[in-house]
Amino acid sequence: MLIAGRVLKALLVSLLLALSAYVVAKLDLFGLESASDRVADQVYQRVTAADYGPDRRGQRAISVVYLDETSMQAMRSFGWDRFPPTYDQQWTMLDDLMNVGGAPPSAIYVDFVYTGQGGPDPGVGAFISGVAAATRANQWSARPGCLSDPLVKIACIVAAGGTPMIFAKPSPIDAPGFTDVQRRLNAVAVLAPALVGEHAYPLAIHYDLTPTAAANSGVSAFDVSPAMAMYAAWCLRRADGCHLPTIAGLKARARAALAGQATAEPTEVTREFTAPLDVVWGSRPDPDYLAMTRNVTGQAAPCRGEGAGWRDRLIEQLATLRGPGAGARQECPYALTLGYDRMVAGLGLQRSDLQRLLAGRMVMVGGQFRASNDWVESPVHGQAPGVQYHAMALDNLIEDGADYRRVSGDLFDSDLLKSLLVAALAFCGVMGVMTRNTLLDRARARGAEARLRARTYAPLYLLIFSISLSVVAGATWLGVVYAHRAPINWIGITIVALGFLFYATRETLPADIVGSIEHLPWVNKGLMGMRAAKRALKFEEDRLWAHRSPTAEPDRSNTEETSRHVES
């Protein structure tokens, strides 16, 4: 009966604490909770970055080609004397990417938003017709079955033997309506929202638009993010279709659509891809990138090499490096990355390098202009260009498929999980303290109190604290590896758990520690000094006590006993 009562009490205390934790998490006062969640995710990613993608499946498939201020300066040598470059020049770039690798890429994503020409630009016709030729638009653009949603459009391009070209567009919510160039581009290629400023990476995006607004913005049923569009193209080229029923269905629908048999029903995006992606950043540099850098420059890439495992990185984060690495510890780009100007000049690059970069690869083209806002905060790399964000998201999908790491957002969400974990930890903590008190009662009855302190309490406290830390670490790891969730706020939960344990044992823990060593003379002297200091520092409290009860001086010898009974 006594045990049942204690268990019930522990349960009530832990549930009360969990409820408080849940309310605090949901209130998210001053954004502290969500900021703390992000920090926990970032630190976890930094610690485990070297373990991402051991078989390099994504790395072997993805390349990044960029333009930046230096590239633009260098390209002036090839007639690029204005910014932005003309449509003709940009088509030249895409045409180069299609041809110079010896074989065309599997798909190309262009992370530039084309809104239309600012002035007369006769090159726009060449640009559109070049894209149309690459995607074989003449075979699918008039087939209604190929236009019902972006995924089936990609499937039709692949089935027609073309190279899917995905272009960035503004979100229909941010910029409703298409410009003329976007409309023309949408007729021959796929447009995907550029997702600037997003924290969670969506895969399929459904909008609440009226049919007219959707038609004006070129939204057919739903939009897919750039990474999802590229992933669909990658899977469509594989015989196994990435073992996804959606891809198998798309292949069949595309064949039928090209034969003029398909209905215009949109693809049912399976539940696997509804939750946003928590983009995981890897840190192993691409071996091709390292080799190319060494061949071209004669020196090692000026960034961190293979790096250390999670243990070294954990120590590093705890001891010295509390953020992404800089200088010699700056991580290399995860995907094989090359400036377009370097490709054009060709100096130092071999033809095999261009083959490795382009032939059959998923090529992501984007800007790395420092003055632009298309930068994201990577937990592993620091400031990273938006195109690298898309490349990393695609890498995650290629590595993990439908088991990608999700950002929580359902009813059974991260806050609820955290609160349940806090409840479990609090329950164990309270039970541990109660066990300690029971042991003490029994020891006193036997007159063996002093021995108990030394032999039993230390392991008991060690057990309580280490179990708490292990449970948090285990829950975080299990959640990431098996539930495919973003890591829970392990830092916050650890602080709450340790704080609660220290609070619950605030009297007993010091008493037990001191009690086990107070027979030592120097400890005894120290204790006397501490008591004197305590008296000296408590003058104001004593004065208050004196007002309330002028006659009774509290008996300090009973303090421990009192607290013990309170906790029991």
Partner: protein, 121 residues
């Protein structure tokens, strides 16, 4: 007058020619874009019209390769042709054009840009 023009052309081309070396052995595209020594586009030329292999007689701005064609120097993009014997000395980006900074592009793109490369004599 004719002699003066020849001397002037020789003086202009001499520094670039001094940097040149190697051979264009193969055209990689059926049609190649051509440029002048300053990088201004001059049109297209059919690969079949080029007599290859051809020695590189000059390097244009930005690393375009100049070959003698029809009595004049035609500059081609390195991307469009396969070369032999062109050795470039490129510096990693941290010690080259881009100042080390806090951003990813500044510190991380080990290959740098074309401006980081200089053909070796």
């Amino acid at each position: 007058m004719w002699k003066a023009s020849l001397i002037a052309a020789a003086v202009l081309l001499a520094p670039a020619a001094a940097l040149a070396g190697g051979t264009v052995v193969k055209a990689l595209r059926p049609e190649l874009r051509t440029f002048d020594a300053n990088g201004q586009p001059t049109g297209m030329t059919a690969a079949s019209a080029l007599k290859l292999p051809a020695p590189i007689v000059a390097m244009g701005v930005g690393g375009s390769v100049g070959i003698q064609e029809g009595g004049k120097v035609v500059y081609l993009r390195g991307l469009d042709v396969e070369t032999q014997g062109v050795n470039a000395a490129c510096k990693p980006v941290q010690s080259a054009a881009r100042a080390p900074g806090q951003s990813y592009a500044a510190t991380n793109m080990g290959l740098g840009g074309a401006s980081d490369c200089r053909p070796q004599k």
